[in-house]
Amino acid sequence: MALVTIKIEGVSHQVEEGLTILEAARKCGYEIPSLCSFNHGECNQGSCRVCLVEVKGARGLVASCVYPVSDGMEITISSPAATTARRMSVELLLSNHNQFCQQCDKNGKCELLHVANVTGARADVFGGVHSEVHIDKLAPGLVRDTSKCILCGRCIERCKNAHGLGILGYENRGFNTFVSPAQDRGFNDSPCIQCGQCVSVCPTGALMEHSEIEKVDEAFAAGKVVIAQAAPAVRAALGEEFGYPIGTPVTGKMIAAMRRLGFKRIYDVNFGADLTIMEEGTELLGRLKNGGVLPMITSCSPGWVNYAEYNYSDLLPNLSSCKSPHQMQGAVIKSYWAKVHDVAPEDIFVVSVMPCTAKKFERQREQLKVNGLADVDAVITTRELARMIKRAGIIFERLPEEGWDQDIMGDYSGAGVIFGVTGGVMEAALRTVYYKLTGEEADPITFESVRGHEAGIREASLDINGTTVNVAIASGMKSAKVLLDDIRAGKSKYHFIEIMGCPGGCINGGGQPYVREFFLPHEDDDIMDTYKEKRARALYLEDKRQTHRQSHNNPQVKELYDKFLGEPNSHKAHELLHTTYAARVGFNDPE
């Protein structure tokens, strides 16, 4: 790429042509405060006016997030005109913002508060009325509160980019503008899949996960047997909330923290993942052998399941009937575990720690109840777990490394760990399917061809003992749609497809810690491009270190089948570990 020479504060720099002033300045060591611009122009409206700088010869100040650099350009960030203008932009945004910062869960991660601090914005400079407030607290996964919205449009763009959905949009105009699903509907009354990608890009607290911390508190207060289970992707990102570099696995400290929070048992959802592979692998082999509906598609991601029920209800028979791992594990806790420990299932309260907001929706599904009891009683995100740890005064860095509780479901394989990254479920399934078809373990154990950490489609064709298995992997609904349309048109050559709701899989889930380059001064410059890969690496590392690498070699899974479930896909297994799906109407009548 061609280089141009620019001057910032009178000092010459060589930067790539085509960059915006904001990006170029960052590479030269300057952080210009900005709000609406996000992630290399994923959202770039130039609307918030927080990033104004002076450019010699330009008419007035320019928005650095949309203004490209050119040869000979002279930029001043620190002039009184520029600093005053940036401060006023923020003060104007604050004038229509509910400033209840101390009650806001975004506090500490709020970009508006950050730029207010950086620009020195003063309180109450502009008086006057506020826009009408629209609040949606009815959806299980997400909460929308327009009193905190700055109309940057990041959420709108992310929903389109990740999923091609565009659930959110601007409504009305001028001072009455607000962001919502059409008609000021709730997320529940629109075809929103509640994945939380909009939450992960929101600069303020306008879009948040629907917190269930209080539910957990109530369960403790009511004297329930509170059991926690954590998904694989959580350990790969929780450390970020406590200042660890991105990609640092913090499994041991996470368990120690959860033990100090008072959970009766702390289990790894990887056990449930191993169970899922046993059930799903058997289901796939059955479909291949008996001419069942193909391609079979994974069903671990509740965002994806929501999408299918809204948009591809004709393909629901393609979905594996397997519950997702934490739901399976919840069902086992409330049946086998309860029996062994002589605890009434009604007295057990299962808390799942998830990188996901859609899991909050999933746990409330009617189809996921056994004898009227939900498998899982509360779902908290990685961010919420961090909040609970901080609230309890636990100094995370000083915690010892502890291990999972070992009774009944303490063991897990490396295959279970990699569920947290796109391609992981596929690889885990292939390890077991290979064994089932050949009677021996695959060598090498890993299936590198299905690995990745970004959105998009990957495919592989494997010849296993004379059986050809064509597989494909997609994450993000935009990619998934391509595969689904092929199935609909009868053109799909695949036998097995893995689909994850969020681009990159669970490591990039809507409940994971926020990644913002300016809050992470010690990370590499390209952290916005590499954080998914770094989190994925943490999981692949843990997989490598496990004694057992395949789900069918998990001794406790074997024991569970021997003592309780019988065979994979047995009657008992179906009762506890499998589920059904139903078509849903996107824009149903609001109450």
Partner: protein, 161 residues
């Protein structure tokens, strides 16, 4: 949300097909629907979304941004009072208030008999004849507040004829 009946949905699809080759067909499609049906409810927007691939929220955003588009049925006569800067300084607010008073509706509303809709418009580009009022495309120049009663009466007479 109630779904459109098949015939209505087919008509909306036909309108969408008129602009198949266009790069940005949305405004044209919505204009045609507004002109032919008088309003663009959500269930119609869903059909447009299906045909164009543009999300319902985005379409809804466009419909609620432009005052020309309506989510609810409009009256037989749509009275558009320009409240652009030029018209406003020439007394447009008094004119629209008078319409509002005589018809018993606020801007954006339709009379119960379905005869009149009152709309507040931003600049309609007729600043030279401010304050301007446009009724079903017919433009009334330099409207005086005293004329309003007669204008309404003329349409009532036309409707009952």
């Amino acid at each position: 949300m109630g779904k459109l009946n098949a015939a209505a949905a087919a008509q909306i699809r036909e309108i969408c097909d008129r602009y198949k080759g266009e790069k940005t067909p949305l405004m044209m499609i919505l204009s045609d629907i507004q002109n032919e049906y008088g309003y663009i409810p959500l269930e119609v927007q869903e059909v447009v979304s299906e045909k164009t691939g543009i999300s319902v929220a985005e379409i809804y955003g466009v419909v609620t941004f432009y005052s020309f588009f309506s989510l609810t049925p409009k009256g037989k006569y749509v009275i558009g009072c320009c409240l652009g800067t030029a018209c406003y300084v020439k007394g447009a607010q008094i004119v629209i208030d008078r319409f509002s008073e005589l018809l018993g509706i606020k801007p954006g509303q339709t009379t119960e008999d379905g005869l009149f809709t009152l709309d507040a418009l931003r600049c309609i580009g007729a600043c030279g004849i401010a304050p301007a009022v446009s009724i079903n495309g017919k433009v009334y120049p330099k409207v005086d507040v005293e004329e309003v009663e007669d204008i309404i009466a003329s349409y009532k007479k036309e409707a009952s004829a």
